[in-house]
């Protein structure tokens, strides 16, 4: 990738927000696009992203060395994109550090653009928090609507920050998948990219190969259901990445047809 490289910071202030799922989607998207993203898992207590991607670096933000491992690498000029899974446990420390070291300025000096992908729960506090993050850091910001979190309650309509973020130009939406299928996808042995390749029409495994393939034990119908969720989700990630790249006047990633 030429031009600016992206440091995608997938963040949520709450547990069970789909933070790792979205970080994973970004990672899988870049992999399918032929990149080798540099991955960081910031949850030292219950690592998740690094279970899916063993090459992901586990950075314990409660330790200086962990902070250095992450924040000294993020602003470095690299052709490959970087993806950080900032779970609720490291959320506050992460942003305090990011503010104190002025990560955005340092990254921009090296032609790296931090992109905050913010996943709020539908509460006034979360929208207020997201709004403050966007205003304070002034880097690229993506509001992620995760359908798994349900619809926005009416009470939010009186919250200014809700409307401010609703009007934000870059959104991404993750649609709903039934619970059982999601549980299957959360199996740490499952690579979304591999699953997509293997379940593509005309890519049926030869005899004997079946057990090697991700979710090969599922019925065709069940696999189709997952595939029907995964493809638009990856396309949504692609659309978001390309939108950010366009906003930054940087070359757009080669489009993929998932």
């Amino acid at each position: 990738m030429l031009g600016k490289s992206l440091a995608i910071l997938v963040v949520s202030p709450h547990e069970a927000s789909g933070c790792t799922l979205i970080a994973r989607l970004f990672a899988e998207f870049f992999r399918l696009s032929g990149d080798a993203p540099i991955l960081f898992d910031t949850d030292a207590l219950k690592p998740k992203l690094s279970l899916y991607f063993p090459e992901a670096e586990l950075a314990d933000l409660s330790k200086t060395k962990g902070q250095m491992r992450l924040f000294d690498t993020l602003p470095l000029r690299a052709h490959e994109p970087k993806i950080v899974d900032v779970t609720w446990r490291s959320f506050q420390t992460f942003f305090e550090q990011m503010r104190d070291i002025d990560l955005v300025a340092e990254a921009r000096a090296n032609n790296v653009e931090p992109v905050v992908v913010y996943i709020p729960h539908y509460t006034a506090d979360d929208f207020e928090r997201g709004y403050r993050i966007r205003e304070h850091f002034g880097c690229e910001f993506v509001l992620a609507d995760n359908a798994f979190l349900g619809p926005a309650p009416q009470a939010l309509h009186s919250v200014n920050s809700y409307w401010a973020l609703k009007a934000h130009p870059v959104h991404m939406a993750i649609s709903l998948l039934d619970e059982m299928s999601m549980n299957l996808l959360e199996d740490t042995r499952v690579s979304m990219a591999e699953f997509l390749k293997a379940s593509a029409p005309g890519s049926m495994p030869v005899t004997g190969e079946k057990t090697q393939l991700p979710l090969a034990y599922l019925s065709l119908d069940a696999r189709s259901k997952i595939r029907a969720w995964l493809r638009p989700s990856l396309r949504e990630v692609q659309r978001t990445v390309q939108l950010i790249q366009a906003r930054l006047n940087t070359p757009i990633s080669v489009p993929q047809s998932f």
Partner: protein, 263 residues
């Protein structure tokens, strides 16, 4: 040739009728971080474009000089020649703010010597301004130093500096004892608390041998771009900013420059 940031380049406050200001940083206990405090102060004035000179009495080693070589002279204040180098040049020097980092254990002695040469008379007569930054350790013994210092601070600014840089929590700090010393003289002191700095960051600044501000700006001793950790730089910047805000709050800048430069 590269210049040390601002300290040697600014000319803003070096002239006019500004009264010379002498700031002594000292303690009678060793290892309480006097030089660290002096270093933050040099960065503070440099950041405000105030020309400052420093005297390091840790002769011959000169820790302060190691970090601020362009503005620091190593002197032995027990020697008449060096007393003259410092005090006789106060009026003539273009630099109106002088910081003296007094070697561990020599604070009382230095103040006495300065009394003998008439420095405090000159302060009383309004020829010079004087501030004492008294760096305290976490022990009661350190508190008892306050009583010894008070006579020298009658016409001066007195700063009590609690240094937490080594993670000390002032376990023996006794507010009642502390207040007692000031009640006697109906005086008060400006209080500065130097927070703890991340150990790894402190260590890296030591290794780099540059002012804290240069480290924060990723500059080496030649003022060229260095390769310090962004995280450690962030720690240093945040830490020093907090200290400088305290200096601002106590009006140090206005005092040192006779209010000629707003902070």
């Amino acid at each position: 040739m590269a210049k040390e940031p601002k300290e040697a380049s600014s000319k803003k406050s070096g002239s006019g009728k500004q009264k010379p200001a002498v700031i002594i940083v000292g303690a009678d206990k060793g290892g309480v971080g006097k030089t660290t405090v002096a270093r933050t102060m040099l960065d503070y004035f440099a950041g405000k474009n105030v020309l400052t000179r420093a005297f390091d009495t840790e002769s011959p080693r000169g820790t302060l000089k190691r970090f601020h070589p362009r503005v620091t002279e190593v002197v032995d204040l027990t020697q008449v020649a060096d007393q003259m180098r410092v005090l006789d040049t106060l009026h003539s020097s273009e630099v109106k703010v002088s910081i003296i980092d007094v070697r561990a254990g020599l604070l009382s002695r230095t103040l006495k010597d300065m009394t003998d040469v008439g420095f405090f008379d000159a302060v009383e007569n309004g020829e010079f301004k004087f501030a004492l930054f008294h760096v305290l350790g976490p022990s009661v013994a350190s508190l008892s130093e306050i009583e010894d210092m008070l006579p020298y601070t009658e016409n001066a600014e007195y700063y009590v500096v609690k240094n937490h840089i080594n993670d000390t929590n002032f376990f023996e700090w006794d507010q009642a004892t502390y207040d007692k010393y000031f009640r006697k003289t109906r005086r008060s002191a400006n209080e500065i608390a130097i927070p703890k700095l991340n150990e790894m960051a402190y260590e890296q600044v030591e290794v780099a041998g540059v002012p804290f501000v240069s480290f924060g700006q990723n500059k080496n001793a030649r003022n060229q771009k260095a390769d310090y950790s962004l995280v450690l730089r962030g720690y240093v910047r945040t830490w020093e900013k907090g200290i400088h805000e305290q200096y601002d709050d106590t009006g140090l800048m206005e005092w040192a420059t006779d209010g000629s430069q707003a902070s």
